[in-house]
């Protein structure tokens, strides 16, 4: 365990502050804004690729979108504003993180809903098992007879 921890601490000290950027793309001068922009890029879909974010893709379009994201952020837009701008142009499809709205309420709630349903299903079934079945009339008679019988 200690080995893991010490290796881990080593890595931690080595890797802090190492942020990278493509050379053909100028990072923003403000590191806070650049970090914001890169965080956002991870959540924007590369529209011509299969399931890749624009951060991961070399496609022309991804490059253009990266430039747009940086430009907007540099101009002082918040990440939410940039998202709204991209959705305006390309629709919700461009967001890898589906927006919370009427059509996605169920999606976002699904982990909680399903866990509840399955938990109820499982616990309820075993509760039933735990409670012994009520005695039938004949059995009650029998029990009564047994109890009343003096030894």
């Amino acid at each position: 365990m200690m080995k893991y921890l010490s290796a881990f601490c080593l890595i931690l000290t080595m890797s802090l502050g190492a942020l990278s950027v493509a050379v053909d793309e100028k990072p923003l001068a403000d590191p806070v804004k650049e970090a914001q922009a890169r965080e956002l890029m991870k959540e924007i879909r590369c529209l011509v690729c299969q399931n890749q974010s624009i951060e991961d893709s070399n496609a022309e379009l991804a490059r253009d979108l990266r430039a747009i994201v940086r430009e907007r952020i540099a101009l002082g837009d918040s990440p939410d504003n940039v998202r709204a701008y991209l959705v305006d142009r390309y629709g919700d499809w461009v967001l890898l993180r589906p927006p919370v709205k009427t059509s996605t309420y169920f999606l976002w709630a699904s982990p909680f809903l399903v866990v509840l349903i399955i938990a109820l299903l499982l616990i309820n079934r075993n509760r039933q098992a735990a409670a012994p079945a009520p005695l039938s009339d004949a059995e009650k008679e029998q029990l009564k007879a047994l109890l009343e019988r003096e030894p």
Binding site: Y4, I11, V21, P98, S103, S110
Partner: protein, 661 residues
């Protein structure tokens, strides 16, 4: 000639499967031992026919017989032999034939290993298995025949998708298929039990090794696939929550739940109908996974071919198998009353918690994968459900699971004592909290999830060690601890190893996600770039010619200080048939992490765009997966788990109970 032989063998197999799916049931109803015993002969015959057909197709691929359409479309004379062979299952028709081969193999194995099963039950199981074979063979013969001829035969084939020409991918599908199809055995056992109307602890003991075997293969298949993505796709990513990845992950989750719920059936005669349902669902998810990628609904490298006739057949087949088994379940399952009791705080309850979260996760992954289709179908626009959603679901559902996972094994069976369990597990909680806090303190802000993930991983790994320590009474009677170590059964070692594997994977995920260093730069020969303390010097490029590709190979020397660590030679390949560009990353694993280099396009004046990474602790992912597989195999090799082994139920129960006391 070989083609016709294979075709003929498939038709024979279909007839055997038809007879094998019907006759044993008649035999079981009429109590006719001969008819029931026919099931054994039928599955053996199906297997031999499937082997013949598969051998025939392999022969056609190896000899590049382009008069077979399938070979002409998917092979090429210049392809290396390994990929000629892996090309057999690297296409739609061939992969289905491979499915049937494994399906019949498992049928034959059940017949062989299950000699001790009651004849009536075994014949029912094999009949269900034969029914599945029948469905697949009909699908192959009517819509996806790999033996169709082409006249005139072309001189050269079209070749295989170069992305698939890779050693990792040559073995990824067979592993995955062994897992998918292995779950068919659990399914057949479940359906047979429903027909017979009885589930006993013995049933769980029969079914568990098969579920475990399937799970081990699924683990291996998924790990290979993710390793492939890591070094072949060139982004350094290893999991994308792609629909196809999800399709393999869902059965894995269900199989993991099944393994655990079967324990409760075996020990306590409870959770019976739930376990049956899981067995049905796990295989249904396998089928969905197999077909989802082929239906054309979802496109990816895995979608070999799309054709509406196939889509209809697939839907019908899914409806029959999934719908049919669920209807049977709804009808028969209420009869399966649980008889065993267990307290709220007990190992059984911990296993119930395990089942709740694993199966919920499987369901949520399914919801997330199909959600865009539903939203579109209801006219609510197009949305993408990407990694952020699945990561959210994983965080919500897996964190409580991992907490329970640390606690479960130290709880006693039947009636546990939470405070006694906490005595064992408490130090793990402290270690985890400290590890998490250290991290937050070192790098305040923005790393809560990292701290949390690390804390969970440490909690899990520590509690595995503490559980072993408690079992051998390391702290109470250290002198005798060594003898205690010898008494631990293989199944228990397997459990500990697999659980620790989960922790190791979590550690790898958390650290590599949070601390990867990446440089995307343009370099000229002689340039040096520093990545996470390692200096990468670009020495230049050279052209390379492979059997069916040409490539540019980049040369990098990596130094730490003055010391040369390694040289990396990534390639940028251009395949000729079909024409396609692929990247071959160069990776050098160190103990602390992977050095990773990818060479991209020339940008003029002798300069090349390259991506260089240092990915800390990423190997922990594959190490953890390996630990889980070995854990599974250890557990499988435990004598008392073997089907038909003469060990009495009493000793088995004692072994389990004694260990946790």
């Amino acid at each position: 000639m070989a083609g016709e032989l294979g075709h003929f063998a498939l038709i024979l197999a279909l007839l055997f499967a038809l007879a094998g799916a019907v006759a044993p049931h008649i035999g079981a109803v009429r109590n006719d031992a001969t008819l029931m015993a026919f099931a054994d002969r039928s599955v053996l015959a199906q297997f031999l026919m499937a082997v013949t057909a598969f051998a025939a197709l392999t022969y056609a691929f190896v000899t590049s017989d382009f008069s077979v359409v399938n070979v002409a479309t998917n092979s090429h004379t210049l392809k290396p032999m390994l990929y000629k062979i892996s090309g057999v299952w690297g296409n739609h028709e061939g992969s289905l034939l491979f499915w049937v081969l494994i399906l019949t193999l498992f049928g034959a194995l059940v017949s062989w290993r299950g000699r001790k099963l009651p004849l009536r039950f075994r014949s029912r199981v094999l009949a269900v298995q034969s029914l599945l074979v029948l469905g697949f063979l009909m699908f192959i013969l009517f819509t996806s025949n790999p033996f169709l001829r082409l006249d005139p035969a072309p001189l050269e084939g079209n070749g295989l998708n170069p992305l698939l020409q890779d050693p990792g991918l040559a073995f990824h599908p067979p592993m995955l298929y062994l897992g998918y199809v292995g779950l068919s055995v659990a399914f057949s056992f479940a359906v047979a039990a429903l027909i017979e109307g009885e589930v006993t602890p013995l049933w769980a003991r029969w079914v568990r090794p098969w579920a475990l075997l399937a799970w081990v293969f699924l683990t291996g298949g998924i790990a290979l696939g993710s390793w492939w993505a890591y070094y072949e796709l060139g982004w350094g990513g290893w999991w994308f929550w792609d629909p196809v990845e999800n399709a393999s992950f869902m059965p894995w989750l269900a199989a993991a739940a099944l393994l655990h719920s079967a324990i409760v059936v075996e020990k306590r005669d409870a959770l019976k109908s739930w376990t049956i349902l899981l067995a049905i669902v796990a295989f249904s998810l396998s089928l969905l996974g197999t077909f989802l990628v082929r239906s054309g609904v979802i496109t990816s490298v895995h979608a070999f071919a799309t054709d509406p006739a196939r889509g209809i057949f697939i839907l019908a087949f899914l409806a029959v198998v999934v719908g049919g088994s669920l209807v049977l379940y709804a009808w028969r399952a209420p009869k399966l009353a649980p008889s065993g009791l267990f307290g709220i705080v007990s190992r059984e309850s911990a296993l119930v918690v395990n089942n709740i979260f694993l199966s919920t996760f499987a369901a949520v992954v399914l919801v997330g994968t199909l959600y865009p289709l539903f939203v579109e179908a209801f006219g609510a626009g197009q949305i993408t459900v990407g990694p952020p959603f699945f990561e959210y679901a994983a965080a919500v559902l897996m964190s409580p699971l991992i907490v329970a996972l640390g606690l479960g094994p130290v709880l006693a069976w039947k009636r546990g004592n939470i405070s006694r369990a906490m005595q064992v597990a408490f130090p793990a909680l402290v270690v985890a909290a400290v590890a998490g806090l250290v991290l937050v303190w070192q790098n305040a802000g923005g790393v809560v999830m990292t701290a949390f993930g690390l804390g969970l991983a440490v909690w899990l790994i520590t509690s595995v060690f503490l559980e072993i320590a408690a079992r051998i009474k390391l702290f109470r009677a250290p002198a005798k601890a060594l003898t205690g170590l010898g008494k631990i059964t293989r199944a228990q070692w397997g459990m500990s190893l697999a659980h620790a594997g989960v922790g190791v994977i979590l550690l790898g995920i958390t650290i590599s996600e949070a601390f990867t260093s990446e440089e995307l730069v343009v370099m000229a020969p002689g340039d040096t770039v520093d990545v996470a303390g390692y200096s990468f010097t670009f020495e230049g490029v050279a052209p390379v010619a492979g059997p069916n590709f040409t490539a540019v190979r980049g040369f990098f020397t990596v130094r730490e200080g003055e010391r040369v660590i390694t040289s990396l030679t990534p390639e940028d390949r251009v395949y000729s048939n079909p024409a396609m560009n692929t990247t071959e990353a160069a990776i050098h694993p160190l103990f602390s992490g992977d050095l990773y280099a990818v060479v991209g396009e020339a940008t003029g004046a002798g300069r090349w765009s390259v991506r260089l990474y240092f990915k800390p602790m990423i190997s922990a992912l594959w190490l953890g997966a390996l630990m889980m597989m070995i854990g599974g195999i250890l557990s499988l090799s435990d004598r008392r788990l073997r089907v038909g082994s003469p060990t009495g139920k009493k000793t088995a129960a004692q072994a389990g109970e004694g260990a946790s006391a």
